[in-house]
């Protein structure tokens, strides 16, 4: 559908990557770990190695959950744009195909101490 307007309606997104001074936005969720009320928004360099991203950006954000300390990263599962995704920890975000405003979801179905019970 297109907007209904009396005149041409030119509009520009205000969130393009060019506005982030060389960085890009990446959204992060840890499925079923709901002590964190919403997905996180992060602003990072596209050249950051994925492993470094996990260690320096993701890990501090989720440290308040007791499960965070015992995540086995070799077994962790990921979704990107809600589709299964296998990141290479040694390569950069860009090389992994993680672009501006992509949403990553971390899944650790064997862990859920606080929010309990449900399988993930």
């Amino acid at each position: 559908m297109a907007i209904n307007a009396r005149k041409p309606y030119p509009s520009q997104p205000v969130d393009g990557i060019e506005r982030y001074h060389g960085n890009q936005l990446v959204y992060l969720s840890w499925d079923r770990h709901l002590i964190f009320a919403a997905p996180f928004i992060t602003c990072v360099l596209p050249g950051l190695r994925f492993g470094e991203f996990v260690d320096t950006v993701l890990a501090p954000l989720i440290a308040a959950d007791p499960d965070a300390a015992v995540i086995d990263w070799t077994k962790a599962q990921w979704l990107k744009a809600n589709q299964p995704f296998a990141p290479d920890f040694a390569r950069s975000l860009a090389d992994n195909g993680i672009g501006h405003k992509d949403q990553l979801r971390l899944q650790t179905p064997w862990l859920n101490t606080v929010c309990g019970g449900a399988a993930g």
């Binding site: 559908m1 297109a2 907007i3 209904n4 307007a5 009396r6 309606y9 509009s11 520009q12 997104p13 205000v14 969130d15 393009g16 506005r19 982030y20 001074h21 960085n23 936005l25 959204y27 992060l28 969720s29 499925d31 079923r32 709901l34 002590i35 964190f36 009320a37 919403a38 997905p39 996180f40 928004i41 992060t42 602003c43 501090p60 954000l61 308040a64 744009a81 809600n82 672009g99 501006h100 405003k101 992509d102 949403q103 979801r105 606080v114 929010c115 309990g116 019970g117 449900a118 993930g120």
Partner: protein, 508 residues
């Protein structure tokens, strides 16, 4: 000498005719389309504006008289409240968080509604509609003023009230109500009146005003009760205007039905999202509670709304698309939102807190299917961290919905253990949504919503104060350590206790 005897007074009907319908005229220098350029582009077809029935038959002279009388009463009570330290009569200073949210989020909305109704009063061709919209425009302005005046007395004593004007535009959570009204005001006149006049004022306003004003009464807040009463007769008129408007539009032409239906789908959902703040207030922020959000939803949403949409079915209107999902979210949203406000309270101009054992028992009783199962464990975890001296602060910022601009705190309609993730790509850009319904709203008018000014994203662009949390706090006029954070240990908590003590004991 023969003189014609003048009738002493005009009859009601005649007065109404002269003071409303008779004020209109048929233009001769310009075609009607040039005078009313916005009346046609939305696709709504009106054959006869004379069919518009004004249910109140209120004329401007009578209107001024009634409103002046109400204002006199209102300001007499507000003065008395201020002179008698009425702020110490509230049940507990935690209650103030509800007032701060109201002043920051809702009162500016009254002002936005004033601007919107003033505009559509000019844009609608029918004179009956013009006069009704003009009165509502003045009502909304009066509501904004009386609310600000009523709450200004609290601003003399407590934190978080002082910068509501700047915070309306700048602080992250207020982009929810702001975008709601901006969206309505940037629509055409028919969409605006269906959005605000019908969907908000008629379908949802009872969920806002009844619990809020009863909550004020239960918690000793005379100022809020007074502006509530002063607004109540206006609200009745607004609701009737909203209902009259939708029936008038639906009766004029069958082509109007699908357009109106889409607006109902959209504005019901946007309104519901906005009101999740009210649910949080009812379930968590009132020290003495009136009813739960779930109970209010059953009465004012399910029962009243259900009856309304059964009544509209004869025009071919069905309940809004989000109706069933709204019912499923009933037992969840207030908990999800208070948990969020608590963990982000470093960035709010009001206080959050962990509910007490008594509070949690009340919540279990009101939400037997959800509270103990899903939400108590999270609160208990937060309490454990607080007691250990390491209170939980969510150090991350939140992903916002491109449409409603809420942080994406909402779970899947059928799975309360999983956050709802929705996204789409358009012209090389990616957009995220809190729900299917917000995504659908975007898909209908993507050109509008791609421009959304999302506060979290802007923070990273460096536009909100120049980058960094400290600059951001200055920019939003948030005084760190006073306006924000946990209620436990706050200046509001200490001052209220001290002043209350002085008023009831010999403490100095």
């Amino acid at each position: 000498m023969d003189m014609k005897v003048q009738k002493a007074k005009l009859g009601l009907k005649e007065r109404y005719r002269l003071m409303t319908r008779d004020l209109g005229w048929t233009p001769s220098y310009q075609p009607p389309e040039a005078l009313f350029p916005y009346a046609g582009y939305e696709g709504i077809v009106i054959h006869d504006w004379e069919k518009w029935e004004d249910p109140f038959r209120l004329t401007m002279d009578a209107y001024w008289k009634y409103q002046a009388e109400k204002d006199r009463k209102f300001y007499a009570i507000i003065d008395a409240q201020a002179q008698n330290n009425g702020h110490l009569n509230i049940t507990d200073a935690r209650y103030l968080s509800a007032l701060k949210i109201f002043l920051q989020a809702i009162s500016p909305g009254e002002y936005a509604a004033h601007k919107g109704f003033a505009r559509v009063g000019r844009e609608f061709p029918g004179v009956g509609t013009q006069v009704a919209c003009q009165m509502q425009a003045i009502d909304e302005l009066r509501h904004a003023q009386t609310q600000i005046h009523a709450l200004s007395n609290y601003n003399r004593y407590y934190n978080g009230f002082h910068a509501f004007i700047q915070q309306r535009d700048r602080i992250w959570y207020n982009s929810v109500p702001r975008s709601f009204f901006d969206d309505a005001m940037s629509g055409g006149p028919f969409e605006f009146i269906i959005a605000i006049g019908f969907s908000f004022e008629y379908v949802l306003t009872n969920l806002l005003f009844v619990p809020f004003m009863s909550g004020a009464a239960y918690n000793g807040d005379m100022a809020t009760v007074t502006f509530g009463f002063s607004a109540q007769s206006d609200e009745a008129r607004h609701m009737t205007l909203g209902l009259e408007c939708i029936k008038f539009v639906l009766e004029q032409d069958p082509r109007n039905v699908p357009i109106v239906q889409r607006w109902l789908d959209k504005w019901f959902w946007r309104g519901l999202r906005l009101l999740s703040l009210v649910g949080t207030m009812m379930d968590y922020m009132l020290p003495k509670r009136v009813m739960s959000w779930a109970e209010a939803w059953d009465i004012y949403g399910e029962d009243n709304g259900g009856a309304l949409f059964r009544d509209l079915a004869r025009y071919g209107i069905r309940p809004p698309a989000g109706w069933a999902d709204a019912g499923k979210a009933r037992d969840h949203i207030s908990h999800q939102f208070m948990l969020a406000l608590y963990q982000w309270s470093f960035g709010t101009a009001f206080h959050g807190w962990i509910p007490s054992d008594d509070d949690m028992d009340w919540l279990s009783a009101k939400y037997p299917d959800t509270f103990d199962r899903y939400y108590r464990p999270r609160w208990m975890h937060f309490r454990k961290l607080a007691e250990a001296g390491t209170p939980f602060r969510n150090v991350g910022l939140a992903k916002l919905c491109q449409t409603c601009q809420f942080p994406c705190v909402f779970t899947e309609a059928d799975d309360p253990t999983l956050l709802c993730h929705r996204e789409l790509e358009r012209e090389g850009h990616r957009y995220h949504f809190c729900s299917d319904h917000c995504q659908t709203i975007f898909e209908h008018e993507p050109e509008k919503y791609v421009q959304a000014w999302l506060p979290m994203n802007q923070l990273f662009q460096g536009t909100s104060g120049g980058g960094g949390i400290e600059n951001w706090m200055k920019w939003v006029n948030l005084v760190d350590g006073q306006d924000n954070g946990d209620f436990e240990g706050s200046q509001d908590q200490r001052n209220f206790a001290a002043w209350k003590g002085q008023s009831t004991t010999n403490a100095r």
